[in-house]
Point group: C2
Chain length 352, copies 2
DNA sequence: TTGTAGGCGTTATCAA
DNA sequence: TTGATAACGCCTACAA
């Protein structure tokens, strides 16, 4: 290559890194002609970096994680390439992914499955890691970008309560995962705030899967006194719970009111349209990528950054006043007619 | 490291590649102690390979592509790491991904967006590529793993026809993509086989997106004489088409019968349960990974391999006999009662 | 602006 | 079984 142009390899290298060289046009044409591409491995070896980062997620087919990934990719620009790695919600694969990635990437965006320990695996990785949506409680020094999970649960409970519900259940995610734990904690706290006593039968801990949501809803329906409102902690469990309700002939919202965490593609296709707690997952992914890129430029900075993505309630059609309201003492609801005819601003109503 | 043990680097290298060495235990302990990990970039440079392959897909949030990826990952074992790259159905990003991947991976599984030319970009990539689901018509020498698209369209048309439909429409995908083209061709051919004359108004070419499916279905419903049966060429367009039907108050299947290509997560949650053409997307991904791994071991083999993944019809609830059957001459349907009461084995019935 | 030369950390060859 | 050594292809002082 260099001999072909009549200059040294140093000149070629200079040209490649944007330096000024005399034979620029000739070099360009020879590159074309020989189809020359610099050897990446050699460059990585010399420079000690790869211009690649990993995005490690438990399940890429979950639309929520897919959105995180999309956001992160968009934010990466084209100075960096993002390699997505799927761990299948499997802790062992998580460990082996981190090990395999060592030396191949400059950093990682990591959505761990559990909050369990990685036993020094992270330190050993030796590169910046930004935790998204989930983090490891033991590891304080890493950046995090979490959703406002407790607030989300609180919004759901408050919305139920504003409609007169007091028999409110949660289908919780695994308590050893960040969102599972924080949403369950937020749920309990919100009940306390609303002066509703927590019925332990109404707290079903499940596993964030569709099958788990199905089983959990069945369990709630089998109760001697089933809840009148159910909050599902993630999208997949929402699918399962809705399937259960359908299979058992329980209609939403007339028999049971329902709110799910995380919006989903078909939420408007199914009947009724499901009221959800939502957050901007793409923004969350983008924020994580920006944090990672900043840290790659500031490897020596010691302070860790923690961002929280806001959540909001999207009211649709799956929540109404409880059917059995007249069987119970429900002080907030005086007039059923006016209550049913005004779904749009219940909060204001309650505050009157 | 080597000096720490008292041997040469060559011995360490031998140990690392599984050779027999005397100080094995001591080396092991020093590796632990120093937290030593071989430098990947140096190894890649020396060996000329990276033990990494790329899986390039247009849209990872599409459940179908997600399934392909999962299948491929599972088949890769742990000798290889798979890096997923999302192109966002954007040809430019496709080109730049290929360029960025050059030298970083040993090969790729590629799901291109269009059948358009890559102008030597592939040859320049210089590594094995296996095309999945879609391929480039101009490039003959690469391995492919396609679905039996034409057969799928044929199954849909035959099922409609067996129920007495003759006003059959297709919402087609882009004709410059493999599945879009092959499904549309299969559709036309199947109509011919069933002696149904093709009404050009019933062929709406769309873009494989939800919005596209929505618009396409609207277009069909606006026809002076709308179809009685609609075949949608992919899952996203199916979502959109169903949304359109819902918004317009057209009920499925009593007003219009419907079949979609590719099964989807919530197909059983929505009413009615949608009849679909399905294929095993994970198996397709796995097959692609096996083909790629084989080729990495047989770089000199010149023959290209082409696999076809079978499709099948999953009968659910979105197809029935046309409502307006009595307004038409439909020779195959003599007795409405017996026809409606037997949905399970129409094919046998027709063949009697 | 250019060339020379050393070194990044590994593997492979060859002698010992 | 081991050690010395030469690549692998690139970048970067340093000297010209």
């Amino acid at each position: 290559m260099a001999s072909r142009v009549g200059v040294s390899v140093a000149t070629i290298s200079r040209f490649l890194s944007g330096g000024n060289v005399r034979e620029e046009t000739k070099i360009r044409s020879v590159i074309q002609e020989l189809n020359y591409r610099p050897n990446i491995a050699a460059r990585n070896l010399k420079l000690g970096r790869s211009a690649t980062v990993a995005i490690i997620v438990p399940d890429i087919s979950n639309p929520f994680f897919a959105a995180i990934v999309r956001g992160a990719e968009k934010a990466s620009g084209d100075s960096l390439m993002a390699a997505i790695v799927n761990t299948d919600s499997n802790s062992e694969r998580e460990v082996s992914a981190l090990a395999h990635l060592y030396g191949r990437v400059d950093g990682a965006i990591f959505v761990p499955t559990k909050e369990s320990d990685h036993e020094g695996g992270l330190a050993h990785f030796g590169r910046p890691i930004v935790f998204v949506d989930r983090y490891l409680q033991k590891e304080k020094k890493y950046d995090t970008v979490l959703a406002d999970n407790a607030r989300g649960a609180q919004l759901a409970v408050e919305h139920f309560a504003s409609q007169g519900h007091s028999k409110i259940a949660i289908i919780a995610g695994p308590l050893d995962s960040t969102p599972g734990r924080q949403r369950e904690e937020g749920f309990r706290k919100a009940l306390d705030n609303s002066k509703i006593v927590t019925n332990l039968n109404y707290v079903v801990v499940s596993d964030f899967t569709q099958a788990g949501g199905y089983a959990a809803m069945n369990q709630l329906l089998d109760l001697a006194e089933p809840p009148t409102a159910v909050f599902s902690s993630n999208n997949l469990m929402t699918y399962g719970a809705l399937n259960s309700l359908k299979d058992r002939g329980v209609s939403v919202p007339s028999d049971i009111s329902f709110i799910g965490f995380d919006d989903f593609e078909l939420s408007t296709l199914i009947s009724p349209k499901i009221t959800v707690i939502n957050r901007d997952a793409e923004a969350q992914g983008a924020q994580a990528m920006r944090a990672l890129m900043w840290r790659l430029e500031n490897l020596d900075s010691k302070i860790s950054k923690h961002s929280v993505i806001p959540v909001n309630l999207i009211k649709r059609e799956s929540v109404t006043i409880p059917r059995t309201w007249d069987l119970q003492n429900s002080p907030k609801v005086k007039d059923r007619q006016s209550q049913t005819s005004d779904h749009s601003n219940n909060k204001e109503k309650v505050n009157e």
